[in-house]
C-alpha cells in the first residue's frame, strides 16, 4: 500500500468530508427544482381532470334538457331587457313632461295620507254625527275638523310632502293645494278639480306611450310562462339524474354500514338499502318528452313576441322631452335588430336540440377557454368560462403597464444618466422601498383612499363622460396600484440595462455635439432596448400574478367588459384569474368540478407567467450583451 498521498480524514458512509459538503450545497439546489416539478405535476394532475368531469357535466346538461331551456332563458332575458328599458324611458319621459302635474298628484296623495293618518279619530266623529243627523254635533265636529286641517296645513313641511321638489317654482300651486286641503271633507273624499284635471292631463298625454309600454310588456307573456314551466321540469330531471347516479354509491355505503351495526339499527339500514333502486340507465328520453312537445309552443311564443315587440317599439313616441328617455328609446330601437337576430339564432339552436346527441370533447374544452360566463353556486347550472377572467387580468395589466412603463423607464434614465450622485442615493432606495409595502396594505389604501378620490376626481367637468367612475372599486383603481407595484421591478432591471451600455457610447455621442437628452434617446435607450423590453416583460409577469390588490380593489364582478364603452371599460369593475382562485378556493369541495376548474385557471395563469419569464430571459440572452 502506498504510504504517501493518501486521503486524509475519516469517511462517513463511504463519503469523505469534501463529498458531504458538495452534497449539502447540491442538495439545496436540488430541493428547489424537485419542489418546482412537484408543484407542476400536482397542478396539472388536478387541472387536467377538469376536462372529463366538465364533459360529463355538459352531457347531463344536454340530456336533461337544460341546454334547451338555457336557450329559451337567453331569449327571455334579452326580451326582459327591452321591458326594463321601456319602463325606465317611460318614467323619465313622464317626469320630464309632467313634472308639475305629477307634483300636484303626488303632493295631494301625500297630503291626504297625512290628513287621514292624523285625523282618523276626528273623521270618525264627523261621520257618526252625520249618520245621526244631529245638527249641533255635525257643526261641532266639522268645526273641530276644520281647525285640525288648518293646524295641519300650517305645520306641514313642504319638503316631506313634495319630496322630489316637483313643485319648486310653483308656489301658487302649492298654496292652492294647501287651501284645497283645508276644505277637504273626509266623508265625501272628493278630489279637488285642479288635481283631477292634472291627473287627466297626464293620462291623456302619456296615453300613446302607455299603450306602447303595455304592448311591449305583454309581448313576452307566453315566453315567460313557458320558461318557468320548463325550468321546473328540467331542474327536476337533472336532480333525479344525479340522484340516480349516486344511488349505487349510497346503497353500498348503507350496506357497508349495516355490517357494523346490531339489531334494529341493522334491520333499518338494510331495509333502507333495499329501497334504493339502481337504474342501469336514467330514462332521459322518457323524461324530456314534455320538452319535445313544447317545441311548437316555444316557436309560437317567440313568433308572437317578435310581432308584438315590433308593434310596441313602433308605437314608442318619437318626440321626447327627456334626454334620458330619448337615449333609452334610441338604444331600444338600435338593439332591436340585433336582439331579433340573436333570438333567431338561439331559437334555431334550441330547435336543433336533441337530448341524445353527444357533446364533443373538443366542444367542452372550447367551452372552458372561450366561454364568456363564469357562474358558480347557481341554482340552475354552473358555467366555467375563462374569458371574463382572462380579459379582466389583461385589462388590469395593460392599465398597470401603461402607467408603470413610462414612469419606471423615465426614472431609470434619470437616475442612471442625468441625476447627480446625491439624487441617485435618494431616488434609488426610495423606489426600491415601494417593494417593501405589503400588497394587503396597498389594497387597503386602494379601497379606503384612492377609490374614493378617483371617483370624486372623475366627476370633474373636463372628464369625458365615458371615463366617469360609477363604481369605486374598478379595473382602473386596481391597475394604478399594480402599476405602483411593478415600478420597482421595471425600474431596477431597466437601470441595470442602462448601466450595461458602455460609457464609451456616451462619450462618443457627447463628443459629437449631442446633448445629454439626445444621447439618451438616440444611443443609450436603443442600445439597452432589449434589457428594457425584458424589464417590462418581467414587470408584466409581476402584475399578472398579483392577487391581493386585485382581489380587494378590482370590484370582483365577473363579466365580459362592455366593449361598447371604449376606453370606459377601464372604469368597470372586473375580476381576475388570481382573484377568482383566492376568492372561491376556500369554499369549494375537494374534487368537485368547481375545484378542478379553479386549478385549471391556476394552470393557465402559471403557463402565462412562465412564458413571459422565458421570453424575457431569451431576450436578455440573445440581445442583452451589447
Amino acid at each position: 500500500m502506498a504510504k504517501h498521498f493518501q486521503r486524509q480524514g475519516r469517511r462517513i458512509l463511504g463519503l469523505d468530508k469534501q463529498s458531504w459538503i458538495k452534497g449539502f450545497f447540491g442538495g439545496n439546489a436540488g430541493i428547489s427544482i424537485v419542489v418546482l416539478f412537484l408543484i407542476c405535476f400536482f397542478l396539472m394532475l388536478e387541472a387536467f381532470r377538469f376536462f372529463p368531469s366538465h364533459h360529463e357535466g355538459l352531457q347531463v346538461y344536454r340530456k336533461s334538457g337544460q341546454e334547451y331551456v338555457g336557450h329559451l332563458m337567453e331569449q327571455a332575458d334579452g326580451y326582459q331587457e327591452f321591458v326594463s328599458f321601456t319602463n325606465q324611458a317611460y318614467f323619465a319621459e313622464y317626469d320630464a313632461r309632467y313634472t308639475k302635474e305629477r307634483g300636484i298628484k303626488d303632493s295631494w296623495d301625500a297630503l291626504l295620507g297625512e290628513i287621514e293618518d292624523e285625523g282618523e279619530d276626528l273623521a270618525e266623529v264627523l261621520e257618526d254625527a252625520r249618520d245621526e243627523e244631529d245638527e249641533a254635533a255635525i257643526a261641532e265636529a266639522e268645526g273641530a275638523y276644520r281647525t285640525f286641517l288648518k293646524d295641519l296645513t300650517a305645520s306641514v313641511s313642504r319638503q316631506s310632502i313634495d319630496s322630489f321638489g316637483r313643485l319648486e317654482g310653483h308656489d301658487d300651486t302649492w298654496e292652492k293645494l294647501l287651501l284645497a286641503a283645508q276644505t277637504y271633507d273626509p266623508v265625501e273624499e272628493e278630489t279637488p278639480d285642479f288635481v283631477a284635471e292634472a291627473i287627466q292631463v297626464q293620462k291623456e298625454g302619456m296615453h300613446s306611450f302607455t299603450e306602447a309600454k303595455g304592448e311591449i310588456a305583454a309581448a313576452g307573456t307566453e315566453l315567460k310562462d313557458l320558461r318557468s314551466k320548463l325550468v321546473a321540469i328540467t331542474a327536476k330531471i337533472a336532480e333525479d339524474a344525479e340522484a340516480g347516479q349516486s344511488a349505487r354509491a349510497r346503497k353500498e355505503a348503507l350496506l357497508a354500514g349495516a355490517t357494523k351495526m346490531e339489531g334494529e339499527d341493522k334491520a333499518a339500514a338494510l331495509e333502507e338499502a333495499e329501497k334504493i333502486v339502481i337504474q342501469d340507465e336514467f330514462p332521459f328520453g322518457e323524461r324530456v318528452q314534455p320538452l319535445e312537445e313544447a317545441k311548437e309552443a316555444h316557436r309560437q311564443a317567440v313568433a308572437k313576441m317578435r310581432t308584438k315587440l315590433a308593434v310596441g317599439i313602433a308605437k314608442l313616441p318619437a318626440q321626447l322631452e327627456s334626454d334620458k328617455a330619448a337615449q333609452l328609446i334610441a338604444q331600444i330601437k338600435n338593439g332591436q335588430e340585433r336582439f331579433l337576430d340573436n333570438v333567431d339564432r338561439s331559437l334555431e339552436k334550441a330547435q336543433d336540440w336533441e337530448f341524445d346527441k353527444d357533446v364533443g370533447f373538443f366542444e367542452s374544452v372550447a367551452k372552458f377557454f372561450f366561454g364568456r360566463d363564469w357562474i358558480t353556486n347557481s341554482s340552475w347550472t354552473n358555467v366555467y368560462g375563462l374569458l371574463p377572467l382572462l380579459t379582466g387580468s389583461v385589462v388590469i395589466s395593460c392599465i398597470a403597464l401603461f402607467f408603470a412603463v413610462p414612469l419606471s423607464i423615465g426614472a431609470a434614465i434619470y437616475v442612471n444618466r442625468l441625476a447627480t450622485l446625491r439624487e441617485q442615493n435618494l431616488i434609488k432606495p426610495s423606489i426600491e422601498m415601494i417593494q417593501a409595502i405589503p400588497s394587503i396594505v396597498l389594497g387597503f389604501f386602494g379601497i379606503m383612499v384612492l377609490g374614493q378620490h378617483l371617483q370624486d376626481w372623475s366627476q370633474a367637468a373636463w372628464v369625458p363622460e365615458f371615463l366617469q367612475i360609477k363604481d369605486r372599486l374598478n379595473a382602473f383603481n386596481a391597475g394604478l396600484l399594480l402599476a405602483l407595484m411593478a415600478v420597482p421591478t421595471i425600474f431596477t432591471l431597466c437601470e441595470d440595462a442602462l448601466n450595461n451600455v458602455p460609457r464609451a457610447y456616451t462619450e462618443a455621442s457627447l463628443a459629437l455635439g449631442a446633448s445629454k437628452l439626445q444621447t439618451v434617446t438616440r444611443v443609450i435607450v436603443p442600445t439597452a432596448i432589449s434589457g428594457i423590453l425584458a424589464a417590462v416583460l418581467l414587470g408584466l409577469g409581476r402584475v399578472i400574478g398579483e392577487t391581493m390588490v386585485v382581489l380587494l380593489v378590482a370590484g370582483n364582478r365577473i363579466s365580459m367588459p362592455d366593449w361598447g364603452q371604449g376606453l370606459g371599460l377601464m372604469m368597470q369593475p372586473t375580476h381576475t384569474m388570481t382573484g377568482i382562485i383566492a376568492q372561491e378556493m376556500p369554499e369549494v369541495g375537494e374534487g368537485t368540478l368547481h375545484y378542478r376548474a379553479l386549478f385549471l385557471v391556476g394552470l393557465v395563469l402559471f403557463s402565462i407567467s412562465l412564458s413571459i419569464n422565458i421570453t424575457a430571459q431569451r431576450i436578455i440572452k440573445r440581445l442583452g450583451n451589447v
Binding site: E507, S509, L510, A511, L512, G513, A514, R522, P526, T527
Partner: protein, 272 residues
Amino acid sequence: MNDSSVTLDSADAPAIAVNEPIISIDDLSFSYDLGKTNTLRNISLEIPAGKVTAFIGPSGCGKSTLLRCLNRMNDLVDTAKVTTGKISILGQDINAPDVEAIELRKHIGMVFQKYNPFPKSIYENVAYGLRVQGINSKSVLDQAVEESLQKSALWSEVKDRLNTSALGLSGGQQQRLCIARTIAVKPQIVLMDEPCSALDPIATARIEELIAELQQDFTIVIVTHNMQQATRVSDRTAFFYLGELIEYDETSTIFGNPKVKQTEDYVSGRFG
C-alpha cells in the same frame, strides 16, 4: 483646401491662417477633486492651426486630461474644475459662462483610445453627428457620409454595406469609421486620444497615413504613447511630466535636440 488658411465650412468663427495659434492655453491648472489636488499645473502653450501637435509623456502625466479639457469632456466628472488660467479656442474662452459645451464640441471633434462606433449601421454612425444637429435631409446626409468615408479612406471598403452593423468591421476599420464620424460634422479641430493603442501595426500605419491627409483640412491634436508615432505624424510635440508641461517645440527639436534633461531622458527611453 488651400495652403494659406484653414477654412471652416460649418464654422461661423473666423478662419485662422495656418501656423497662427488656434488654441491658446494660458497658465491652466486643473483638478479632478474640486481643487484639492491639481492634476495639471500652470500649463501654457499655443497650438497652431493646420498642424499636427502631439502630446507625449509617461502614464499619468496629464496629457489625456489636457486633451479632454479642450472639448470640455471633463464636464462629465462632477468634481472636475479648472482652478486657474484659461483656454481660448478661436479667441473664445471656452470656460466662459455663456459657452455651451455642446456647441463647442460641434467644432472640436474627438477620436477615442478604444474605437467605439455605436451599435448602429455604418451609415447611421457617420450621419449621427449631423442628425443630432437636426439635419435629416437624405441627400445632405448621403453626401456627407460618402465624403467623410472617402476622407477617412474607408469608402471603398464599406460602400456596399453601409446599412450593416458597424460592429461587424475589423478594429482598424472601426477606428477609421470613428474618424469618419468625427469629421462628418466638419469640426475645425480633431482631438485624438491614443487612437492607435488598440490596433495592430498595419492598422496603425493606415491611421497614421490618414492623419497626414487629414492635416490638410483640420488642426489635429494627438495624444500618444508611442514616440515613433509622434515623430512620424506630428509637426510639434509637447512633453508632459507629472502634470506639468516640461518642453514644447518642433517635433524634430524635441526628439533630436531637447533643451531639458527630462525630455531627453524620456525620448531616449531612459524612463517612462
